[in-house]
Symmetry: C2
Subunit: 242 residues, 2 copies
């Protein structure tokens, strides 16, 4: 399949973003919305939608009555937590060339915790994919994904090193829409410490999350573990409703 060209708004957004990173705006001042609309031959609404997304990403900020400006500080933020979609991409954003190693790739009976998260019954099965992300043979991230076996279109055992959202799309015909993630600090136990190459008891971050598809069905449960010394997450926090 794979149809659909980028929307006008997204094209405008990309265009403005490029002009920002190329530093084409005098004093970091972005032209008035009306001017942009006329220059690009689109409505002001389209411009505003594009600018709104850029503002949300932290690339620009707006002052009512004054203008729209480049946010130099915001531009520096890589791999914003709210927008992470694959750890390959995260590591690339941090300047690494990631290697993915599949440690586990098997169907197991579901445990109680996962059954609750994914709405499965006792006795159902899940495909468990454990992956280690490395940079130059140094482990950085470990992920464990659990996908209901019932979602698999056919039993096959290939390409498990795909990002999970691509795997779900290709082999389960499900499109990931969003994750609900819980942030849990831990001290690495012996198993995790060994796999991540750190001392047992080292403080680390973990995410415990559930991914939902566009029908709002839970399709994957994931737990991830990070080496804080090599990868640190940032996010932008705003007042509710803004």
């Amino acid at each position: 399949m794979i149809t659909r060209n980028p929307s006008l708004t997204d094209q405008v957004k990309a265009h403005i973003k490029e002009r920002i990173v190329n530093d084409e705006f005098e004093d970091g001042r972005i032209p008035p919305e009306a001017t942009l609309a006329e220059d690009l031959g689109v409505s002001r609404t389209t411009i505003r939608d594009a600018l709104g997304k850029l503002e949300h990403e932290g690339a620009i900020y707006r002052k009512q009555g004054a203008g729209t400006f480049v946010n130099e500080a915001g531009l520096q933020i890589k791999s914003r937590l709210e927008e992470i979609w694959s750890y390959e991409q995260v590591l690339e954003d941090h300047g690494y060339k990631p290697v993915v190693r599949v440690l586990t790739d098997e169907v197991f009976p579901v445990n109680q915790d996962t059954a609750g998260a994914l709405g499965l019954d006792k006795g159902d099965e899940v495909l468990v994919i454990e992956k280690l992300f490395l940079e130059n043979s140094t482990p950085v991230v470990l992920t464990r994904n659990r996908i209901p076996a019932a979602l698999l279109e056919e039993p096959h055992r290939k390409r498990k090193n795909l990002p999970i959202y691509e795997y779900l799309e290709e082999y389960c015909d499900r499109r990931l829409n969003y994750y609900v993630s819980e942030i849990v600090p831990i001290a690495f136990d012996a198993d995790l410490a060994k796999k991540l190459g750190v001392k047992r008891g080292t403080p680390g971050l973990s995410f415990v999350e559930v991914g939902f598809d566009q029908n709002n069905d839970a399709v994957v449960q994931a737990t991830s573990y990070f080496r804080d010394d090599l990868l640190r997450f940032r996010l932008i926090r705003r007042k509710a409703g803004a």
Copy 2:
């Protein structure tokens, strides 16, 4: 000052949200946008903006061509990390009745780290406010805020137990716009462990963040420490640009 009534969009959002929590929609199905617009006497654009915010919060989800639906799972999520604005509110959302204890409230010479974060020079001074948030004499959160002394309109020493965003508004005439937060897992050292009432070495979460006002000036540096056993953060992660 304090002018401005809620926008039409926000009123519509609140109205729909209330109908959602009151479970007024048959089968969790929300009426078509055109119907809502007619019923409420506003344009479809206004309805869409309101629904967009509710979708972003996770309260509803939309399926093109099918309809708009209540997201039962999303409604359960309290204190979403991206929208935290005061820890008093966070604790209330978790069903606690918080007590705030001010531990430190003094002006110090700025250290190098804070100077860098806030764009200050060596020799400048900052007001340091350390606060402990408790529920029934059980500590849950410890925060350390650093505000440039130059922002203080007058030297005074009252109401330091206000939420920082209110303090900044009232005594510095600055309105907090957003935070850039870094998530850092730690093992509590002796001092933190004592203040939070846990064993030294317990794994915990900390945020290291900088708050910006509406002119995009850095106005506060904050570090916060949490007892993971009492308070756990969630957030919704989406594909970038969505």
